[in-house]
């Protein structure tokens, strides 16, 4: 059973957002991180020093590992930002200020 079935969810209509231009489906109320996880994506940032991939770690806004660029604003915590239709997500490299 998947989580939506488990909670007997009847979400509002799905919409699309983009990750680096590629369309990703999202459900109303889901955060950036939730939609990316649902699409099977677990990393969307590379670190400043070693360029290593990162995604969700703490999931509750404490660790800052899931930073991402949302509608050209870098350093947003993917686990906190709720998606709206048409949002453009970009994987963030380093501080996100070099883009």
């Amino acid at each position: 059973m998947n989580p939506l079935e488990l909670a007997d969810a009847r979400p509002g209509p799905a919409f699309t957002v983009t990750l680096d231009g590629r369309e990703i489906p999202a459900l109303p109320g889901q955060t950036v991180a939730a939609a990316l996880w649902a699409a099977g994506i677990t990393s969307w940032r590379t670190t400043r020093g070693q360029g290593r991939p990162r995604g969700i770690f703490c999931g509750i806004g404490v660790c800052f590992d899931c930073l991402v660029t949302v509608n050209d604003r870098p350093n947003q915590r993917a686990c906190l930002v709720t998606l709206r239709p048409g949002d453009a997500i970009r994987t963030q490299e380093g501080t996100g200020h070099d883009d």
């Binding site: 007997d8 969810a9 939730a34 996880w37 290593r52 990162r54 999931g59 947003q76």
Partner: protein, 493 residues
Amino acid sequence: MTERPHLAVIGAGPAGLAASLAAAARGVRVTLIDAAPDAGGQFYRQPATGLGARRPQALHHQWRTWERLRDGLAAQADIRHLTEHHVWCVERKSSGSDRPDAFTVHALLGPLQEEPATVHADAVLLATGGYERVLPFPGWTLPGVVTAGGAQAMLKAGLVVPGRVAVVAGTGPLLLPVATGLAAAGVRVEALVESADPKAVVRHTRALAAKLPEAARYAARLLRHRVRFLPRNAVVEAHGDERVESVTVAALDADGRVRPGTGRRIPCDTLAIGHGMLPHTDLAETLGCRLDGVRVHADEEQRTDVPGVWAAGESTGIGGAALSLAEGHIAGRSIAARLAGRTPDPRGWATAAKSRTKLGEFAAALDTVYAPPAHWTEQVTDDTVVCRCEEVTAGAIREAVGGLGAADVRTVKLLTRAGMGWCQGRMCGPAVAGLASCELTPARRPFARPVPLGVLAQEAQEAQEAEATDAAEAARETRKAQDHAHPTEKELS
């Protein structure tokens, strides 16, 4: 005009909700301030409204208690619930709790946290909860490695799971609901790896007896989902290149050391890991509240040692939702009495106090049983990243300690930048303390979360303007007083 006293409650988890309801029922105006879009905190984290979950209780425990809190909040007109308010500082404006507007709570609004908001109150309750402690090991920064609580939070709120095949590992009672929750949500949980020794539980049966039926229920669920339970084992490495592909699990000896030759690989795409929890104490520290170790000190009434500031729930020591409810209830009643100028009668909350004592003993027993393995640092290789934000390795920290003589977390930070990044050492603090063989001390962060410079500048400007207004008023008052006191001088002039 005499206004009713006003309480600001920070945190809408079990402690904050219980306190708000208890205080509001006794005539206090309450503003409940919380970062989430819905009440509940981490324990009762709710699915996003847009997901239309008809059976959210499938992901929860003690659902009836939640319904009682939720309905109480909805029915109580004296509680104003501010959602998506991220509090970064509580400012104490005057020394006495009997003064109106004694406190200003500073928050940032919405998910982007850029717009400021303030709340003025006569008293403050800190119900700021806790966060997970995760100790490093090789591979722990790979995508797919998440905190156990994080995996649970994403499941409860977003109705998503991190992958298809998981290992849940570390130590502590949280691992049980996480493993069973992921399994119920369709994840194949290959193993629940617990470093503690379950035999130790037997030595604490008196305090733990009440929880044995709950443990038995979890055991049955693990069995039903065919989750292997591996006690006295630990994940010593996560393997993968761009994400986790497998983990190595090894057995521990009686001293908590890895037994050589026992390592075995378990393929998985997710590792959910946690080593217990730590209290959020930032706001309390800024207010100057006394801390006992890493927890906020609170007396029998849940008062901190700063007048007008109460604390309840995980911020005063990790002990679970039931203890948080008891502490919150006591705090709410104490606040209502104190703000009305009365000394509260503790007999009024005797039941809650009794449960607080029992649950406190239980939490202490759990703490003893579920301590991280004594020799966990031996598995941390020099090239393991310890500070995730600043990418500081264990080797650099060892060099700061062994080569440069650092003997505390702060000195390591100054020498290596460990703890200087975005999360301000919340993630690496316990690890640095362990590697440096020193006590984990409170970090003394000036703000509880990042604040845009623009907001600080605006606050400073407003404070300056207020000061100027006050000064002008004071000057007018002085002139008036002088005019009054020396009419003859005026007549003469």
